[in-house]
Point group: C2
Chain length 590, copies 2
């Protein structure tokens, strides 16, 4: 019988360690050290305490923990050598029944991995949903991780140790993250609709896009108990869960359901599905809040099909420009024609009426996968967004003088690439000097470069983002001034063109604080971070106070990529955080 939270907090260190036996493979010291961090306010708190013990342990102890794990399928045939837990997991993954070819492949990977990193390959074979990865998925992950840098892979190994521990703890306590599973399963179901075989691509008004809208509307209506569900003139799916009375103000929330080409399953969609589960729970309990919940699945945010972006949220804030209707996609189909084909023709002229009246709304909140490495690197499931960064982009080209790499003395060169290299390193240190600033040269190319020619031209891009416009603009000014100095000093010339400038959207302090209270109430530490990417909240910011909650992305937070992933555990915490937020808001409203 697992101990209750109260019993855990009261237990002797020995009893607690015994209770946590096997959670961290052959490493009781993790539980012993965590015991000193009591009292815990939640099981999430306990889990996080175990993680923190490992994070704060000396590197030797971390390596020892890694090395305490068995090789994959290494001794799966030899039950003696494995802990009960490990054997169970490996058998569940089918690793006890490999073909000789599979076994040979795994042994080869094991040897190469150990030779490169000095510890065994550790993978939470139960996977992000906890139901087990296929052998093919396991092998693909193995091959991919073998290519990692040792520093990164050491951290990735530890992250898998923590995921294994999370699943083992859940098993021990008989806990199933059913809310998170629902989010995860809906995301999986939505991902069945795609324009592309073998890749997730859902662009505005494609058949896959319409199928997603249909699924979402149906789930809202049939599974969640929203009172009103509809698809509006631009394709947004809008679900309304009434408040206690007709005069109740509304809380607006949601995110987008379109994707980039070959994108991930959670970008946008998570922010639709999390509040849907919350409404489902409210409905099951027959509860009404002093405010209505309006959940919007925005039709378009990514700008993949038409030059205009944020089509869905623009309609809500009243900045949908009707001339956009004449924009054409790469196939020459205008947005108007696409809306017509999607059966939205009768509504086209009503787009302007979609604009929301801010007076009827309390504010806008959005849950989103982080799409960055911060939470993953800190082993934290949730983060509080302080601001959606303002950004500025430039493309540039430096012109020096192409010359013979053998015959041109260093002092007589006009090396265009060297000038860009200087700029890159300047930008890197300038941006690193402030925590809320990032700067990137993502495009860098000597056109038609030859091994024996001093570069006469070098193309580059600049992308500078910051939590405030002032911070961004100061960086832009410094970088362009430095570029000028570099060109002067090197006797090269430069043409730079600004291609984009978007204002920052700082979170509304009251709403940011509500997210912080919600996360704290879950027993999790509050970690604040800016959003480097743009989100629908950036548009809603124009008419409503807004704040976002970030959810950890696996694999260093990779996004816009099929590897984009979250665990069912983190999805569960997102739903719980959203529930806390609305409870808090309900309390304030009375």
């Amino acid at each position: 019988m697992p101990l209750t939270l109260e019993q855990i907090n009261a237990a002797s260190v020995a009893d607690l360690t015994e209770q946590l036996h096997g959670v961290y493979e052959h490493s009781p010291w993790v539980a012993e050290d965590a015991a000193t961090k009591r009292p815990f306010t939640s099981l999430a708190h306990l889990r996080q305490a175990l993680v923190t013990v490992v994070r704060e342990a000396p590197r030797e102890a971390q390596l020892h923990l890694l090395r305490a794990h068995p090789e994959l399928a290494g001794k799966a045939i030899d039950p003696q050598a494995l802990t009960t837990e490990s054997r169970h997991e490996q058998v569940q993954a089918g690793l006890h029944a490999c073909t000789p070819e599979e076994l040979a492949q795994i042994q080869e990977l094991n040897a190469a991995y150990r030779a490169k990193f000095g510890f065994p390959f550790i993978l939470a074979v139960r996977g992000p949903r906890g139901q087990g990865l296929s052998k093919a998925e396991i092998l693909a992950t193995f091959a991919r991780r073998l290519a990692h840098h040792p520093d990164f892979e050491e951290a990735e190994g530890l992250r898998n140790v923590h995921r294994i521990a999370e699943i083992r703890l859940n098993d021990k306590w008989g806990i199933e993250p059913t809310l998170g599973n629902q989010v995860w399963d809906w995301a999986e179901a939505l991902a069945q609709h795609s324009e592309q075989d073998g890749a997730l691509t859902v662009t505005y008004l494609s058949a896959a896009h319409q199928a997603c809208a249909k699924d979402i509307a149906q789930w809202m209506r049939n599974d969640c108990g929203f009172d009103e569900v509809g698809i509006d003139a631009v394709g947004n799916v809008v679900g309304l869960y009434h408040g206690e009375n007709d005069q109740a103000p509304r809380l607006l929330t949601g995110s987008h359901y379109d994707t980039v080409r070959n994108g991930g399953k959670y970008d946008g969609r998570l922010g639709i599905l999390v509040p849907m589960v919350c409404v489902r729970q409210l409905h099951r309990q027959g509860r009404r809040l002093p405010f209505a919940l309006e959940v919007v699945a925005f039709a378009e945010e990514e700008g993949q099909r038409y030059p205009a972006t944020f089509l869905g949220s623009s309609a809500l804030v009243g900045t949908f420009d009707s001339t956009w209707l004449e924009q054409v996609d790469p196939q020459g189909i205008s947005m108007r024609e696409a809306l017509r084909s999607a059966g939205r023709e009768p509504d086209i002229d009503t787009i302007a009426t979609l604009q929301r009246n801010a007076r009827h709304y309390l504010g806008f909140v959005e849950v989103h996968i982080e799409q960055g490495p911060v939470l993953n690197g800190l082993d934290l499931p949730l983060g509080i967004v302080t601001s959606i960064n303002g950004s500025a982009r430039f493309t540039g080209e430096i012109t020096g003088m192409a010359s013979h790499a053998g015959t041109t003395p260093m002092s007589m060169r006009k090396d265009a690439a060297a000038a860009v290299a200087e700029l890159l390193l300047y930008l890197e240190q300038r941006a690193a000097a402030h925590p809320n600033l990032v700067g990137t040269i993502g495009i860098l190319e000597v056109p038609n470069g030859s091994i024996n020619v001093v570069p006469g031209r070098c193309r580059f891009s600049l992308d500078i983002r910051a939590t405030t416009d002032a911070l961004r603009d100061a960086c832009v000014t410094d970088v362009l001034a430095e570029l000028d100095r570099i060109c002067q000093r090197r006797g090269v010339s430069c043409a730079v063109q600004e291609t984009l400038r978007i204002a920052a959207a700082p979170s509304a302090p009251a709403w940011q604080s509500r997210w912080e209270q919600a996360v704290t109430a879950l027993g999790l530490p509050v970690h604040r971070l800016p959003s480097g990417a743009g989100h629908d909240a950036m548009k809603l910011h124009e008419i409503l106070p807004q704040a976002m909650l970030f959810v950890r992305g696996l694999h260093a937070g990779i996004s816009h990529n099929p590897l984009e992933s979250i665990t069912n555990g983190d999805a569960e915490l997102s739903v719980q955080a959203f529930q806390r937020l609305i409870e808090q808001l309900a309390k304030e409203s009375r």
Copy 2:
């Protein structure tokens, strides 16, 4: 009547200045200052003294000299505003008879040029051969130079001022560089043979290549009076001018007549034509030397058609590998088939016999266009090569981690491009720290780079050359060690592959010294420099002492390019230097 050299050295400053009136436009101070540098040992010495005065003048005086020149066609219709010399030159270039469209175009260029640089566009419209550029050539040059960096263009303007002065001096003294003209005209005639319309491309054994060989052989035989002329089994044209007797040793000289694609007219060919003119002069005088002159027009050096390079000189040093005969060109034609088509089939088996016996030769000398900016930048017509640089080449790729440019904090990045940028700047300063060393990253590319993605990969090349192998290898070692440190520090990985390593070929001191004496005897300063590019002399180095003479290339020494050019005056000096070298050698041999 022009003064003799003796009279020049004895004249009063005022008389000398009067004599040089109009040579430097409205700037008698140039002649006045040059007067203090007397005595002059040659007219070349006088010319160089005038150049030096301008070089050493304060920048304000240089700008004043530039501004003293008229605009192109600006007032060509108004003879009052132009000096006699300027009017003569502009009329000769047809600028007095522009169509209204041409005039409008020139005025527009004049205005843009003056706005950018603050001085008028100055061009020696008589051109490199002294016979006048076409209006189309003038306009193309104008447009090209308008794009230059101001520092460079200021120097280019002054170089044109000196070229104008050289031509005016020649006119004044009634001097025609007939030997240089012959070299220039032969180079022009050879350039009529090409595989490509509108570009000079002569690759091994093409029809154009065979036509070149035929011309050279014919000129050697009919125009120059070589005693024996033949085309050998690999396509080298070999001309022998007998010495005083059959036992006379031989001086070997020559260079290659193949070109790169869209190459220049002088690369290689200059080193064939200069000794040919010398032999022609000896023959005309009926002179025999205590040694024979063997002039070889090497069939192949550039490696454009087959992977193997230096085919011609390899045959002479006995390293022609018979397996090369089976190499195929991009059209699938083997070298053996190409030799067969060129009618050389009966000789293929005799290639090995082309190897020269070093005991019969005094050494190897080669005249070559510099293919670099050094002499052009120093306003020097000739330079002495100290060594043909040893080189090492690598290609590499750094792998970091691609991540979102907005969401990845600076501290969590693994930016592959930033690592290469660091390497580039390290290489630049490491190479610059030693005058006989150059290092280049000519290929630099983030594959599929995006403006909003931190570079996960970056491809680059390394090209490192030095006068000695030890110097080169020390640099290679340091650069690779630094690359390692950068990768360690940044947590990125790198794969580097060496693609080439060629030994340095230092000049034989005695032969280098003979070139120095020859240049000194012409009244020119000795400037020593390494050869950054490879040359046939590098192969001959394997069996004979060798030394090279470099001739200034115009347009910052650009080569492997249609803009590659030399003046007839510099060609004349090359011939004179070669004549001095053989006179000196004759003296030593007696």
